[in-house]
């Protein structure tokens, strides 16, 4: 196992983040219920680390990314970011403070084609970001753009082109370059390799790892692909139905996962090298709707190890059985279900 680097300086802290979306019905569109997209998520992001967030569709990983980027306001909970003088709340900032926050925290989306304006040359699109953030000198802006293009291996001449002239992989490089141009401290990447073919996906993954090593940026890497998450991230947060059920060092996967859901997820992932060597938990049924999420543990309706307490009391993150301070599990089981 490769050695794990431990990061200790917190950059961003999410505490008890909740996001409820109203469900309306009837002719008057009255509120008839709530979708609990996020139901009390705690997450620390350290300076210089990549944390991967994994989970199946509807588990809230994208919503969490949008919360962290403050693209939407959480229904409850606290978000605090370190601007250089300690952690500070970032929800409801004024315009100047918000700009300062956005300069430090950037987001990349899954489909780069829809995140570029089709009628704007890509160079202008990157330039615009720098202008918004108050860089007045055109030459300084251009040298920044050039520098970020070099980091993603794109030729500067390409900046004169329009988004449709690029392939999916190239557009994703440009989206990364646009992020890097203002030198952020944290990049939130939401499923950025999911739409790409594997050979192109590998190029982008290598690029991200290289940028991370060279700049010491922090990344939140949101993906549904467990193997990619493990390869890219230092730590992994596993989400299920709006909550984080396990946080563990990437190297602890696949052997030392402790939450029954994490183990089930791993055993469902097809893998060439681990065929027949994995611990197996085969899940029946499907993820329940977050509109009527089970009380108690969200996973209790599908968990093969469910106990009475699971149905009534929600487990909170606690230290894992394999006592490693960076490995936390939200589960009532005292011992990992399958011999660790």
């Amino acid at each position: 196992m490769s050695k794990e680097i431990v990061f200790t300086e917190p950059l961003y802290q999410a505490k008890g983040i909740k996001k409820y979306f109203p469900v309306t019905g009837g002719v008057l569109r009255r509120k008839i219920g709530e979708v609990k997209a996020l139901d009390g998520v705690d997450l620390d992001i350290y300076r210089g680390e990549t944390i991967s967030i994994i989970g199946e569709s509807g588990c809230g990983k994208t919503t969490l990314g949008r919360m962290l980027a403050v693209l939407q306001k959480p229904t409850g909970g606290e978000l605090s970011f370190d601007f250089g003088d300690g952690l500070k709340n970032v929800v409801g900032l004024n315009r100047t403070e918000e700009l300062a926050f956005r300069r430090r925290v950037q987001m990349i989306f899954q489909d780069p084609y829809t995140s570029f304006n089709p009628r704007q040359r890509v160079g202008a699109a990157i330039d615009e970001v720098l202008q918004v953030h108050g860089m007045k000198d055109p030459e300084e802006r251009f040298s920044r753009i050039k520098e970020s293009c070099e980091m993603v291996n794109m030729r500067v001449e390409y900046l004169q082109r329009y988004p449709h002239e690029f392939s999916g992989g190239q557009r994703q490089r440009l989206a990364i370059a646009r992020c890097l141009a203002i030198r952020p401290e944290l990049i939130i990447a939401d499923e950025i390799v999911s739409a790409l073919d594997v050979s192109i996906q590998a190029q982008i993954i290598n690029l991200l790892r290289q940028i991370q090593r060279e700049t010491g940026l922090s990344f939140v890497f949101i993906t549904h692909d467990v193997a990619v998450a493990r390869y890219v991230g230092h730590r992994i947060a596993v989400m299920y139905l709006g909550s984080v059920v396990e946080i563990l060092p990437a190297g602890a996967l696949p052997e030392n996962a402790e939450h029954p859901y994490t183990i089930a997820l791993l055993s469902a992932v097809p893998d060439m090298n681990l065929q027949g060597k994995k611990k197996e938990i085969v899940l029946q049924g499907e993820v329940p709707s977050p509109i009527d999420a089970p009380s108690g543990c969200a996973f209790s309706t599908r968990c093969p190890y469910v106990m009475d307490i699971c149905k009534t009391t929600r487990p909170v993150l606690r230290l894992a059985y394999e006592a490693d301070s960076s490995h936390q599990v939200a589960c009532h089981l005292e011992k990992p279900p399958i011999g660790a």
Binding site: S199, Y231, P270
Partner: protein
């Protein structure tokens, strides 16, 4: 001519199939001399990246190519009771071809929401092909559908028979698609990316289901996918395609454990495994897949290949066969099937 006895073992054979599409009055060569042998009762996977022609291969077999596509040459033969039928010689929507589609060859598609009619109850849509191909009353058909729903793990099948597609989750809709494809008990089922839109835990359920359907009824499956790891879990035989050509064919062990073609090797090394060494960079393939219009002669992979020579770009690349019918389309392999040790200098452009 291939051996008679060998043909008996195959349910389907494709021989030098060429397909072209007319796009804006120019012709694109999409499938290039595709030859495949599908042994009866086996699980064949066709893998490749987007645009490699894997779906077009499936469409060509059942004659469901889009209107601008056509089979230019080649043979698609279906074997049944010592009798061969050339599928591509049949009239596209004629009686004979229709007796194959649905009844003898079942099909499962990726996009369930657009494959199912949103205005009809799912039970009726499944029963439709039964009523089309068999002389059954509506009640008998309904009974058979409900029985199959139960076998496929659709909960509460009597009630679900009358539900509409939008009332199902993605995984359940895919089970309905499987029901449509298998209700007439076809000998061959072609599944085109059936789990790509699904979550992994649901994917695992669906793949187990397909594998059981294959084993229990000695059915033949052709699975089209881009996921190499998935292939390793279900396939008996694998065909790897690149830009319209089958570049490697063999048993799952041959292709995934001892890949010979540079493209197959690169494809396998570019996906991280769950136990990948994180200190090692992923192997990448430089550049991107060219358009079919750009490559008209020589090896389709030559521009991105680390081992390519001028000969690769000029001549028709023959299929080389190695021990155990492991077929590879590459002229840089030696007689033992190994690539030259030294990479071409300055390849990393």
């Amino acid at each position: 001519m291939a051996l008679e006895s060998k043909q008996l073992n195959n349910i389907l054979e494709l021989k030098d199939v060429n397909v072209s599409f007319t796009v804006e009055s120019s012709s694109l060569h999409i499938l290039r001399d595709v030859s495949l042998q599908v042994p009866r009762g086996s699980f064949l996977c066709i893998v490749g990246e987007s645009g490699c022609g894997k779906s077009v291969t499936a469409q060509a077999i059942v004659q469901l190519l889009p209107d601008n596509g056509r089979v230019d040459s080649g043979l698609i033969s279906y074997y049944e009771n010592d009798q061969a039928t050339e599928l591509n010689k049949l009239e596209k929507f004629g009686r004979e071809m229709r007796s194959f589609r649905g009844a003898k060859i079942g099909m499962i598609f990726q996009d369930t929401l657009s494959s199912l009619n949103p205005a009809h109850r799912v039970g009726r849509q499944v029963a439709e092909s039964l009523l089309q191909h068999h002389n059954l009353s509506k009640d008998e058909a309904k009974e058979r559908v409900i029985e199959l729903f139960r076998k496929l793990g659709i909960p509460d099948p009597e009630r679900r028979y009358n539900a509409y597609p939008h009332e199902f989750s993605g995984g359940m809709r895919q089970r309905v698609m499987i029901a449509i494809a298998t209700i007439c008990e076809p000998d061959l089922v072609i599944a085109d990316e059936p789990t790509t839109a699904l979550d992994v835990t649901i994917q695992a359920q669906i793949m187990t289901l397909l594998k059981n359907l294959q084993k229990s009824a000695k059915r033949t499956f052709i699975l089209i996918t881009h996921n190499m790891a998935l292939v390793s879990e279900v396939a008996d035989h694998v065909a790897v395609m690149y830009l319209g050509r089958v570049v490697e064919y063999g048993s799952v062990d041959q292709v995934l454990r001892t890949p010979r073609h540079p493209y197959t090797q690169a494809l396998l090394q570019s996906v991280p495994s769950l136990d990948a060494d994180k200190s090692v960079e992923l192997k990448t393939v430089d550049g991107q897949t060219p358009s079919p219009a750009e490559v008209t002669k020589g090896c389709e992979f030559a521009e991105r290949c680390l081992f390519a020579t001028d000969t690769c770009r000029d001549q028709i690349i023959p299929l080389m066969t190695f021990q155990g019918n492991h077929q590879v389309r590459c002229i840089r392999l030696d007689e033992k099937g190994n690539l030259p040790k030294q990479n071409k200098a300055g390849s990393n452009v």
